[in-house]
Every structure is written in C-alpha cells, then in structure tokens.
Symmetry: C2
Subunit: 428 residues, 2 copies
C-alpha cells in the first residue's frame, strides 16, 4: 500500500465535488505518478443535513473550519468555497499551520495573491492556483515553467466564459444582448447578478494574475482599464462582421520597454485570428513570446470537471514535491518592478461608430478632429439612417491612447456628432 | 555572482545557435528563475574553420565529441545535431558520465526513447525532449504535469509543419500538390528529399512520443497506420470544402478499453473544428480528457527560435532540479501495458472518392457492397465526368476499420468502379 496524502476541502459546491470525484475515478493513475494515495479526509460544508448522503464516501463532513485547518493529519487544504475575506483567513490559517494550499479563487488571488505567496514562503508551504484562470487550461504552469526561457511580449485572453458565450450567441444566432444574457443565465453560465461577468471585472481579475506570472509585475485591479460588454449591440457585431472582424471580450497585457499596460474590453479581432474561432463558453490565452512567436492555449474556461482537473493537477504537484522533499519553493520566481506604460506609449487601432447630422461640412469637421489628434483613417463606412442622420464607422490606424482620447473629446464637443461605440481593434 | 551551470551543445545548426542566443538574450530572467547562470562551455561542430567567427563568443568549438562528453565541468549536454545512431551513442555516453541531457531529436526519441529513459534513470540523470514534438508548443510537459489528473481519451495532432503549410497553400491559394511542395522547399520548410514529411513518417514519430506520454503505452512506429499526403489532389480539397470540411494531415491516438490505436493520415475536419483553423507551418495538439473535455495547444511547430525555446525551457528544468537536488527523477511515471485496439473496435467516418461507369445498376451495386460490409452512407455526391463515367463521393457513418476494408475490397473487385481516395473524417 502507498503512503497516504490527506486533503481537507473547504467548500462542497460543484468544483469541490468534482475534485473528490476525480481523485476517486483516476486514483490508479494519480497514485502511479505521485507515489501517494491522495485521499480527502474532511470537507467543510455549510449545512450538514443537506450533505448527509455523502457520509458513506469515506470522508467526514464538518461545519467547523478549524476541524480541517487544525487537523495535523491533513497536509493539503483545497479552497473551493469562494468569497474573499473568509477564504483569505482560512488560507492564512492553513499556511501558518504548515499546510500547503490549492485554491481556485481568482478574486482572492488577484487581490491578495502577493500576501498569500509571501506567507506560504515564510511557512515553507506550497500555494498553487492553476484553476483560478481559464478553468481547465493549464495556462499558469505553462507560462511559469514552459515559457520561462522566453521573454513574453503580449498576452491576449478570452478569459470569461459567460461573456464569450453571449457574444457567440449574438454573432451566430443574431440574438440581442438581453436574449443572450437570459440564455446564459438559464444555462447557469451567468449569475442572476451578472455584473462581474458583463462589466469585465472577472476578466480583469484574471488578467491581473496572468500579468503577474507573464511579466513578473503586480498590477492593481484599479489600474486595469476595464470595459464590459453591457449594452453591446447587434449593429456593431454586424458591421464588424462586414469589415472582416469578430467581436470578443479580450483582456490584453502588453510589455513595452519594461512597462506594462493591461486592459479588458470588447475588441474587434480579424476573422482569421486564432482567438476568433474560440466560441461558446470556451476560453483561450494567446501568448506572444520574443523567441517562440505566437502560441495559443484553448479549452473549457469553467465548469465542474475542467476546473476540478486543474485543482487536482495542483494537488499532484504538491504530492510530487512532498515526495521529493521540495515543498515550499516559490512557484513563480520572475519578479520585475511594476511600472505602467504611459498613455502616449500604448498604441492600438480603434473602431468608432458615430451618428452624425447629414449636412454639408460635418464629415469635414470629423476628419479635422481626427487629423488634429493625429489619428488617421484605415477604413470608413457611411450609410444614411433617415433623412437627417447618417451612421459613420471609422477604423483608425494605430494611435496612442492619448490621441484617441483627444479625438473622442473633440467628437463629444460637436452637437452634430454622437459617438455611440468605441472599441480597440487587434491587428492580425 | 550566481553559481554556473555549464552546458555542452552537440550540433551548431539553426537550433543550436538559437539555444545559444536565447541563453544570452534572456540571461537575466533565466538566472532569476533558476538561481544559476546557465552558460555554454563547448559546442561540437563539424568544421572548425567554418565557425571561426564564433570564437569570441565565450565558448570553445570542437570537432571531438569526447571534448564535450568527458568534460567534468559540463553538467548538461544539449543534443541538437540530429541523426539516430551517432546521437544515440553520444547521449548514452553523456548519461553514463552522469550528465543530464536535453534533446530535440524526435527520430531518436520515437525509436530509442525507452532505452534512453532507462539509462538516464540508472545514472540518476535528467533526460528531457520537449522540442521533439511540435517545436515551440510545450505539449509534452503539459500532458505529463498538467493533465496528470485526467484520463486522456484522445490526442489529435497537426504535428508536421511542412505538410500543413502545403495543405494550407492548396486550400487557400488553390495550388497543386507539386506547386505547394516546391514552395515549401523554396522556403526551407521541406527538404530536397521530402519523404519523411509528405509520407507522414515524421508525424508518426511524433505520435509515438505523444502516445507514450498521454497513454503510458510504447507503440512501435511500424504499428502506426501511416499514410502521407503525396498525390493529394485539388479535387478532394475542393469537394471537402463543398461538404464543409478542411483537409489536414492529422495524427490520431485514441484509447479504447485500455487499448490504443494510433494512425496518421489526411483527414477531413469539420470547418468549425479548432484544428481546422491551424494554418501555414503551425502545429496544434488537440487533447480530449475524460474530465477536462476538449483542449488545444497551438503554436509554431518548427523554426530556430521556437524549437530553441523548448530546449532552453528543458535546460531551466534541469537547473531547477539541480538547485533542489532532485535530478534524475523520471519525467513520465505513467506506464500502462501496451495493447493495440483490434481493427473491429476502431471506428471512424470515412470519405471515399470513386470513379464509376455511368451505367444502370452500378450505383445499386456500390450500395450493396457497402451495405454488405455494414457501412451506411451519411452524404452522397455524384456528378458526371464525361459521357461514360461519373465521380461519386461517399461520406459514411462511423464504421470499423474492418468494415471499411471489406467495403474497399468489394469496390476494388468491380471493374466498373475505381476507388481514387479514401480518408478518415473527424467528427465535430
């Protein structure tokens, strides 16, 4: 019989039960690759009565966190309960008790990751969080281990499954924003309060974590320029398609001269871009390295089993480290001073949809506003709405964020023009 | 100053010089993540005179392999010279001298991987070969570490850049096979003797390596059903496109009831399949796991810098292991008895293009041959060629390899029918 590695699980939702299921179903392989029988000893639940039926499963249910956190036989704690404050307290408690921790909690890692990593190091424990970004895609370990040889230049991520599902529905089935949201809610992808998904907050948290690993920089969530998909319209999706683009909610982190810029927002992607084919609730992270060039990692971004797979792969790493006596080595040693790219050094093409009074001289005025800001046009599309107004779509050449703001300010000052939408355009 | 980890490089072609360049250009990051200055001490070359200009680079050039293999200061040997017999001898020599080895040599690893892994283990050395499959894509480490928690069901790989480039040209620019081959040769993707690429041998070798890691089984190269793209015609690509498919050279390894089947050949992929968007010389590996579902890893399959990135990421792992005192642990511990799936248990849809005499009763005969073999039709396309013959295309429902062979034998016996091409069809 193999040695036992005993695990305590905090939270018994879909991911928690997925972890228990995978440890059981893939026991033989896991035991072969780690040399341990990894078994769940205790599970923290909210309500004992509701979970009575699991009593025969070989683990104990408890509502008292210290039952798990102070059990000397438990070597690893898996945190899959969510929330920030309570989860942080429990994880700190576990680490200080000398237990390694695996968590799927992106909100927590985005905000307190740095502190938790430091406490893990002080206490010679492992802390892994592969499941916190892009569910079943092993993107964090890939960046830290496999791309360690390279200098990463840019990370583009479709890292929120709910909004990607909605945009796919709006694109392929011409659904409205409201219909797509309702459908995502009915399918359980979106919560009843979808704020964190549709306003890009969830994606921004994941970009904070990716930026930390890819560029060694700790950006604040508040410094991620974040825009969601709320109110995105069929009209923009149709025009984008006509111009050869797909609309996706994309997180972009780019290194420019040892500074970094991180943004989340709807963007237009060239139809042939590998990210354009990422549909439904899938996620993908597109990484450009100085040496390797363009790579992409694609898979399910959420869901019980994919997320649980990432949690268990972290558990396997803890087990291997236990075997080798190498617990407590820092996962990511790549650290750089955090500096933000100034707005005059962040360049992108942009898409603008405007409504203009259809009278002589207005378009000339528009051209002048953009020219004064130093923004030149790549594509122009104009069509009449009615007798008095026209829709004008501009795709600009690459311009700095400052230049774009200047042009937008100019447009907003003119009563004959109304800027309706403005999205970044990714180059092919 | 950090401790030095000294490297000997066997071979100074594009990958070898890429490795040297990356170690130099990314020195700061590599030193931060490993705690070592990884430096190249000696490089084995064929011709000293030709490489005189590198003398000032800080390493010694030699034409004598023992200069590298017996140097006690060299801790790691990088083999990027290619060939099988000589490379095998040098690697065995290095391992027996207690040096860890990193190789990009797929031919060698496909054939002698098992022996080399055993010798590395006996001598407590590391042996890594990430660059041997799919160049810059870290697929081996992903399968072994990140998907360790899962049971892999199926691996589909576009793992040969040359043929993928050719098929992309034939599809997007309607080039003929000969034109596409010539272009690949002019661009340096294909060798003057393209046999190993166009006959699928290179892809088969990579599938042997992927199968070993994904399913823990050691299949023989001879047991991989291998078919190349030689003689593939514009006509099949056009018909496939009409039916909603792309033609790609795909390696397929599938586990069925603890047995495995591995095949390489041109297949029809549904246009919406993520592998269908993998164009030009890029590679991608599509992995289906019991728990994680469908994931894909995409990137450059070859080229100096991408391949060198994978080699250096292996060097970084050796350096980390040296630091932790964990050199000599087996990379892949997942081992299963190798059993092949019998031909009546391997199912697939198939595409057939035939030429038939256009006379009454021939189609009925064809229908009967397929029905007798137990193969039913999903799609049928018939168009006249001239007064006497017609082209008939059949896409079958899934049938076993035995059933397909029976149907093919039946067609081949009929003088009124001629089977021109026959490809597997991947389901969406």
């Amino acid at each position: 019989m193999k040695a036992k590695l005993q695990v305590g699980v905090l939270g018994f939702g879909t991911v928690g039960s997925g972890v228990i299921r995978i440890l059981k179903e893939h026991q033989e392989k896991i035991s072969q690759v780690t040399g341990y029988d990894i078994t769940v000893k205790k599970v923290l639940v909210r309500d004992l009565e509701k979970n009575r039926r699991y009593e025969a499963e070989g683990f104990t249910l408890t509502t008292d966190p210290t039952d798990v956190l102070d059990d000397p036989e438990i070597a690893v704690v898996v945190e899959v309960m969510g929330s920030i404050t309570t989860a942080r307290n429990y994880i700190l408690h576990a680490l200080k008790a000398g237990k390694s921790v695996v968590t799927a909690n992106k909100d927590l890692i985005a905000i307190h990751g740095d502190e938790l990593v430091a406490v893990a190091q002080e206490n010679h424990c492992d802390l892994f969080y592969e499941a916190s970004v892009a569910g079943g895609i092993p993107i964090l370990r890939t960046i830290v281990n496999s791309l360690a040889a390279d200098r990463i230049k840019k990370v583009l991520g479709i890292v929120n499954g709910t909004t990607n599902y909605m945009l796919t529905q709006m694109t392929t089935s011409s659904k409205s924003y409201e219909e797509a949201l309702k459908e995502a809610q009915d399918l359980g992808f979106a919560e009843s309060d979808p704020t964190s998904d549709v306003d890009g907050i969830d994606a921004a948290r994941k970009m904070v974590i990716l930026t930390r690993l890819a560029f060694g920089m700790n950006v604040n969530l508040d410094d991620v320029k974040t825009k969601g998909i709320r109110g995105i319209s069929q009209k923009d999706i149709a025009i984008a398609s006509q111009l050869g683009y797909k609309v996706k909610l994309v997180g972009q982190a780019e290194e420019i001269d040892n500074t970094v810029d991180v943004a989340v927002g709807p963007v237009l992607l060239p139809a042939a871009h590998p990210l354009s084919g990422v549909n439904d609730e899938n996620n993908a992270v597109f990484v450009t390295g100085a040496a390797v060039g363009e790579t992409m990692f694609y898979g399910p971004g959420a869901g019980e089993m994919p997320t649980a797979t990432s949690v268990v792969s972290d558990l396997i790493t803890v087990a291997k480290n236990t075997k080798l006596g190498t617990i407590g080595n820092v996962f990511n040693r790549f650290v750089h001073e955090t500096k933000y790219t100034p707005a005059d050094k962040v360049f992108s093409k942009y898409y603008f949809r405007m409504q203009m009074n259809d009278k002589t001289g207005t378009f000339l005025k528009l051209t002048k506003i953009f020219a004064d800001a130093g923004v030149s046009f790549d594509k122009i599309l104009q069509e009449p709405n009615d007798k008095h107004t026209a829709t004008v779509v501009i795709v600009s050449h690459a311009a700095s964020r400052n230049q774009i703001e200047e042009a937008v300010d100019g447009v907003n000052k003119e009563p004959e023009m109304r800027l309706i939408t403005q999205y970044a355009v990714v180059e092919g």
